[in-house]
Symmetry: C2
Subunit: 332 residues, 2 copies
Amino acid sequence: MVEKRRKKTAEEHAAGVLAGDRASLAQAITLIESRSAKHWDQAQQVVEEVLPYTGKARRLGFSGVPGAGKSTLIEAFGMMLCEAGYRVAVLAVDPSSTTNRGSILGDKTRMERLSKHPNAFIRPSPSGGTAGGVAKKSRETMFLCEAAGFDVIIVETVGVGQGETLVRSMVDYFLLLVLTGGGDELQGMKKGIMEIADDLYINKADGINKQPALNARAEFNRMLHFLQPSTPGWTTEAHTVSALYHDGLKAMWERIDTFFSKVQESGRLTERRRHQMSDWMKAMVQEELERTFYQNPGVQSAWPAFEASVISGKTAPARAVQQLLQQFWEDK
Amino acid sequence: MVEKRRKKTAEEHAAGVLAGDRASLAQAITLIESRSAKHWDQAQQVVEEVLPYTGKARRLGFSGVPGAGKSTLIEAFGMMLCEAGYRVAVLAVDPSSTTNRGSILGDKTRMERLSKHPNAFIRPSPSGGTAGGVAKKSRETMFLCEAAGFDVIIVETVGVGQGETLVRSMVDYFLLLVLTGGGDELQGMKKGIMEIADDLYINKADGINKQPALNARAEFNRMLHFLQPSTPGWTTEAHTVSALYHDGLKAMWERIDTFFSKVQESGRLTERRRHQMSDWMKAMVQEELERTFYQNPGVQSAWPAFEASVISGKTAPARAVQQLLQQFWEDK
């Protein structure tokens, strides 16, 4: 069996994915996530086989600080969609987790009911890898899920590090989950995070927390009024939701529905996806150029001395950089 | 005379700058700003001669949308400092101006009184060049001004393009000038701009505009409460000022004074400047790597077809990038 699996061709992988077979999908994702150089070419072949069948899903990003109730919300929201006949894939992007420590979705039991639903597919965050690497894999994983026939892709990210920016750059709609418990939890929001959201949801708006949540919603809407919306032509709004009591989930889906009607009609959706593809290529170029430069042994050994010389005022920064680059190009 | 100027050595340039001679300073800046390859080496020598004499000035960034009254404010503020015996240099960073069109400070008469004060030095934005290029020159120009004995460097940027990010990355303290006239002007603030400011000043807080400005201040302070401060350990605040009636300028300087006491004592100032130097080197590396890649004729001719192939779903993005890079490295 193990032997047979190893010998599966790219076409077979792709066929399994396109048939919507869950085990094949999981296997293809593992191939994509492999950091072994010998898997790379086959993985790219699989991507190429499935690429023409992608693009039909709604790509949603869900973000929020730990404790905001992302898992509970995604489970409840995902269950509602699955019960309505949608096929839902949940992926995690967690650039902060270089080991399993701090990884979100490291454990499927976190969304136990959803993970067992026949219409759902949950893929935990790949552990290890750089931020860029993880993002690359997540996009390709998203394509595989789309090709496997999932209608809604929820890309989850924890509210730390570069996760949100990465997720924003791969989804159509970005939802930020926030909390309130009197006002203080709202402090210290991450720089720029409100401005990449298409909607803000204040979770745990139930019981004695309901009124504070409504107050927070008003406050957030006042703030949003001053900021540029993340999607031109769409007004980012703050709403309340209770994932625990399933209160506001339907309205959330209706709002997402309205969003897609709007951006499809205006052509913004197609435009955003084209830009994302082009930006992704450029990001990979940048990542690879910098990786090659900074992993160059000559650069690695020379950099600290140059930097020290610059900081102590002996070498002009532009000259230090020019010399490092000159050495690098000669070395290539 | 012209012949003699052409033959000035790097040491002579540096000596003139270090003597605080205004004409020498202007000449050295022109050398730095030169895009001619033959000036580059000498310019870097001048930077290296003066680098050990830099670091003593307060580096302030002033930003705000056109119409916010930056010129009037800087002139009034600069005059106040010059009268108090400080030497003040005003530089402009304007990455949006590839020609003179839209250039800020293109004309010294914009700050007529200040430009004539013996303690002041005003340098307009260099026209032409890429955003990165302009930023590079501006840092070096800032060093020259410091070496020439200026105590306060005001780096002005217009509130468009990447200007603020560039200026934030080279100054110690960043001031954002905003306007109010009832509330609507506050809308659509640039993404992330409030979060890089060390203080917000609502200008034109005079006459019938005074009360709306005070209301806006309260509103901004409410919003700032939710955001992470730009400088750890410092609380960004909103204040009102009237550049026209010189109301609030003294308080502005006192607040900047407090800022510097704090960051000097906590070591944040030294730390920030070290990081800025290191980040600048990395930014130059990135800029140069990408410039070399995208200006490579092979890359230029191959890119459009690869991009089209990716967007139409024929080539996997990662493979397209890998092939472009492979071609590039072979070409080098």
